[in-house]
């Protein structure tokens, strides 16, 4: 059998990384996107996403990669993955119109024996409803992680494949493709695979929610969650890679999307899902952690306070401000002067009528009554707590992600507030 040719419809973050990862395994890959400008940029090596290792890998395997905005070019592929983004509405529910529209365009372009694989986050039942003979139709779970996407695309832990009949062997080209990655392949019915993706995220949310719940309790009873979490990781039943770092609620829209999907499906099916609703409630509560600390520790004592904010981005190493905890906080502090610094996001992104841009972290902290470190950019770890204490007017540093070393912050005389410990109030 000649090596199968693999297509990717939708050169999104997921589609692009998956295409390059597949090319790295020696397969010829056709990347399709309707956006011609995007296709030309990618073909010229100008990647629209920032992902460690992606640019180098795309260059190294460029002979295996071709990019196109012509749908017909997918006709030469043995397998076509649908890898578009599935947007969510304000309730966190998936809007399936985009993927539905793309699939409707891709199916007529397929070769007569080509396989179609849905690689996007879709609710259980979606794949089975598509108008293609079931022996040519598959769903595959993706587990993209921003910042680690290349690693996950080239060294997957396993493949979870949804199909009409899990007892039947996978078609030869599909088996050859997945087999090249050398990891377990778990075929299951479509609905199981679609729910498996959601189940993975629910388990992650469960861990994070436990961490967030007990981190808050730690803050109130004199414990330190940051001392507890490493002990849990050494428990084999919990695991070294479990999601136990406390956060400001559940970060990222995809996890919230899956919770919304489970709630909606459970409501329709009559199954009990109150624990999922509790995850959502707890997340919403913890998102306001920094706002509560600001009011309790700063504004009740100094109603005319001024603030410094380090970080605007959603997380470190990204330009994205979608779901940014920093912006969420700043929008509720528009009555007070704020000076901000972020290594890549401009100050104008802050939802504040009179924000001042700072050129350095210390400049953002100058004369501030309180400093909030809202994105854990690596460069903030180099900021000296003593220098902060010297330049700030006040002593409060609200540092949910523990960017500063707590002992050093306290030694510098700062009142250092981090998630999961009450030590700040003792500082």
């Amino acid at each position: 059998m000649t090596s199968p040719v693999i297509g990717f419809a939708g050169l999104t973050h997921l589609g692009l990384v998956s295409a390059v990862g597949t090319a790295s395994k020696g397969f010829r890959v056709v990347g399709y996107d309707a956006d011609g400008a995007r296709v030309r940029d990618i073909a010229a090596g100008r990647m629209p996403v920032v992902e460690p290792g992606l640019d180098d890998m795309a260059r190294k395997f460029s002979k295996n990669l071709s990019y196109t905005d012509r749908l017909g070019d997918l006709g030469a592929c043995d397998i076509v993955y649908v890898s578009t983004d599935v947007p969510t509405n304000e309730r966190g529910e998936s809007d399936l119109a985009v993927i539905g529209g793309l699939v409707a365009k891709v199916i007529p372009a397929l070769g007569p024996h080509s396989l179609l694989v849905i690689l996007c986050q879709v609710p259980p039942g979606f794949t089975r409803g598509l108008p293609l003979p079931s022996e040519r139709l598959f769903y595959q779970v993706e587990t993209l992680v921003f910042g680690r996407a290349v690693e996950r695309a080239t060294q997957p832990e396993r493949f979870i494949v949804g199909c009409a009949d899990p007892q039947r062997p996978l078609p030869a080209p599909f088996g050859a493709l997945l087999g090249a990655f050398g990891c377990p392949i778990l075929p299951m019915r479509y609905e199981s695979a679609e729910l498996a993706k959601i189940a993975i995220n629910c388990c992650l949310v469960a861990s994070v929610s436990v961490a967030n719940t007990l981190a808050e309790l730690s803050e109130r009873i004199g414990a330190d969650w940051n001392e507890i979490a490493p002990a849990l990781r050494l428990d084999r039943r919990i695991g070294a890679y479990s999601y136990l770092a406390p956060g400001l609620g559940i970060a990222g829209g995809n996890l919230e999307r899956d919770l919304a999907t489970v709630l909606k499906l459970s409501e329709a099916a009559g199954s009990e899902a109150s624990v999922i609703a509790a995850f959502v409630r707890n997340s919403r509560h913890r998102k306001d952690w920094a706002l509560r600390v600001v009011h309790r520790e700063v504004l009740t004592r100094k109603p005319d306070a001024t603030f410094g904010v380090l970080g605007l981005a959603y997380k470190e190493n990204t330009h994205s401000t979608k779901n940014s905890p920093s912006l969420e906080l700043i929008q509720h502090l528009t009555s007070w002067p704020i000076r901000v610094y972020d290594p890549v996001v401009p100050a104008s992104a802050a939802p504040h009528p009179a924000v001042t841009a700072a050129a350095t972290p210390l400049e953002a902290a100058r004369d501030a009554d309180a400093l909030m470190i809202m994105t854990p950019w690596p460069e903030f770890r180099a900021v000296s707590p003593r220098a902060l204490a010297d330049t700030m007017a006040g002593r409060v540093v609200i540092d949910p992600f523990r960017v500063l070393e707590p002992a050093a912050a306290q030694a510098a005389g700062l009142s250092h507030f981090v998630l999961g410990t009450s030590s700040g109030s003792l500082g």
Partner: protein, 288 residues
Amino acid sequence: MLEHAQGEPITPTRVVVIGAGGFVGGAIVRRLTRDGVPVHGLTRKEVDLLADGAADRLAAALAADDSVVFVSALAPARTPAMLVQNLRMAEAVGQAVAARPVAHVVYVSSDAVYADDANPVTERSSCQPSSLHGMMHAARELMLRTDVKAPLAILRPSLLYGARDPHNGYGPNRFRRLAEKGEPITLFGEGEEQRDHVFIDDVSQLAALVLAHRSRGILNIATGASTSFRDIAQKVVALAGSKSEIRGTPRQNPITHRHFDIADCLKAFPKFRYTPLNDGLARAMQPE
């Protein structure tokens, strides 16, 4: 969560306070008057909401650009008869504002609408009253949602204290009076239960803010800090310079606590500050 129709505060044309003779209504009237807001206070003397024709009489007292604060209640509603009377009062108010639409309605409800185990309580906590009083407020809220076409704000205060409190219920108000007389303060159990006690002036200030912003939605009125009844008793005795003994009693019921997450209030009114408990208790003990 409250939404403000007016991002910047605007003095209401006139505020009609239904229940102006009560503890909360009186405080709101005094606050608005001090702020220079035209106020028309209605007590049972002007409009008895349980009398025949109450809705018509109330409607006649209303103008299209009025803001209405409905705070009148037979409280606490301990009996089915009181529940029904309170609902009839709300029916009359609903009929009046349906017949004579106004610009804004503020209803002063209670945190008794929430489930007993809703901790920490937020504006999104389940309404699951365990008392007739809570059910009364929950039902009145629904009645008003049905009848009121104007923006409707529902305020749900926690336990209130202040010099003019008429109920003398278990808590700061009774403890203060006992301490002033040097009489013993008797606690349920050892007074371990933590509750969120709100100074009456904070209610009137928040009501004034809600009126000025023409807000709609739900706002809990709670400080975000809960204190045990024993601590309250000790603070009150100390403030009064009293020799009142604080006595525990054998516990009859399990200990329950109530805490609030007040993030919604911090977002709706970022500059508003609740009166700290020590300051509020001290002010409640000053003769007005």
